[in-house]
């Protein structure tokens, strides 16, 4: 062991970010993948909590329809890790509807691949 303790100085810098994310940590890996589709719940009544400006910004962006998590990150210019925390918080608050990507078991599904192939050919063929 050396007497070098970089952890301490880093810990001091963690205060502000934890305020912004309200101490939340990254959601489980699979909850918001890059291509999970997200939109807002249309029912305005179920909005009890006060949102942070960042959460409100994300929510506003989601309100026009479905976007992937990647697109939300692109439009908001938020780092993905931060965005996922905000989305997780909004989802817990009942603000969001999410659509998971095609499950992994179906990725080698002939029918799915045929549908992608047909779609590409119809568009460009």
């Amino acid at each position: 062991m050396t007497d070098n303790t970089p952890e301490e100085s880093e810990a001091a810098e963690l205060v502000r970010p934890y305020v912004i994310t309200r101490g939340r940590e990254l959601p489980a890996e699979d909850k918001f993948s890059l291509i999970t589709l997200v939109t807002t719940v249309s029912d305005e009544r179920q909005r009890p909590t006060r949102l942070s400006p960042e959460e409100q910004h994300v929510l506003d962006m989601c309100s026009g329809g479905y976007l992937s998590v990647a697109e939300l990150a692109g439009h908001t210019q938020l780092p993905l890790g931060v965005l996922k925390i905000l989305l997780s918080s909004l989802a817990e608050g009942g603000y969001l509807i999410t659509r998971a990507p095609v499950p992994r078991a179906r990725l080698v599904d002939q029918q799915l691949l045929q549908e992608v192939l047909d779609g590409l050919q119809a568009r460009f063929g």
Binding site: E13, L14, R16, P17, Y18, I20, T21, E25, L26, S33, L34, I35, T36, L37, T39, E54, H57, D60, M61, S63, G64, G65, Y66, L67, S68, A70, E71, A73, G74, H75, Q77, L78, P79, L80, G81, V82, I85, R99, A100, P101, V102, R104, L107, V108, D109, Q110, L112, L113, Q114, E115, V116, L117, D118, G119, L120, Q121, R123, F124, G125
Partner: protein, 201 residues
């Protein structure tokens, strides 16, 4: 002043309430034409985002405009293509360097396959990318992006140089041309479909 920033209608996934998403990776070494390809195929203006490589707390410092960041971030480009009423395809352009391994974990997970863009003048630069793709067990096709004035190489020579399996598709394309780029993508998906058919036969 409206502080809301709602996007154009076209920015949203059409019929999103019935859609599920799939993704294909577009990989290749620096400046091989990944961004051009995605821009050519995508129905939305291509977007980019930064994947944070270290802890979230550090990434949040970015949000606050702190420039002395200790985290490593890397941009990735992506685009979108609505395939049908139930499937929307995302194309992710991914840097090929081994040091972006965290990105590769995220990108490779759940991808249908990968299109490997190759510059015929810089074949050796593609070795590392192909190694990574194989390491993650992704099926792929090679798309040779022909730049102006590049001499034609025979497919056999290219296959030998890249040490490809006999059934790996190789297609020559121009990433600036929509039809040419689309044919490369179609070649990949047809190959993926045929492989799936074989596995279930």
């Amino acid at each position: 002043m409206d502080s809301k920033r709602v996007l154009d209608e076209d920015a949203y996934v059409r019929g999103g309430e019935a859609q599920t998403a799939v993704k294909i990776l577009v990989v290749g070494h620096f400046a091989v034409g990944k961004t051009t390809f995605i821009g050519t195929i995508s129905e939305i203006p291509p977007l980019s985002t930064e994947e944070d490589m270290t802890r979230v707390a550090e990434a949040v410092d970015d949000l606050k405009g702190v420039r002395s960041k200790t985290t490593t971030t890397v941009a990735m480009d992506f685009g979108r293509l609505t395939i049908s009423d139930h499937v929307v395809l995302y194309l992710f352009g991914t840097p090929g360097q081994q040091r972006f391994i965290q990105i590769w974990e995220d990108m490779a997970r759940g991808a249908l396959g990968a299109l490997v863009l190759v510059d015929p003048e810089r074949l050796a630069d593609s070795f590392a990318v192909i190694d990574l793709i194989e390491q993650y067990g992704l099926s792929y096709a090679i798309a040779v992006n022909r730049f102006d004035h590049t001499p034609e190489r025979t497919e056999a020579a290219l296959r030998e140089a890249l040490d490809l399996l006999p059934d790996t598709p190789v297609v020559v394309m121009d990433a600036r041309d929509e039809n040419s780029s689309a044919q490369a993508l179609i070649t990949l998906v047809r190959y993926l479909q045929e492989r799936a058919a074989l596995e279930h036969a």
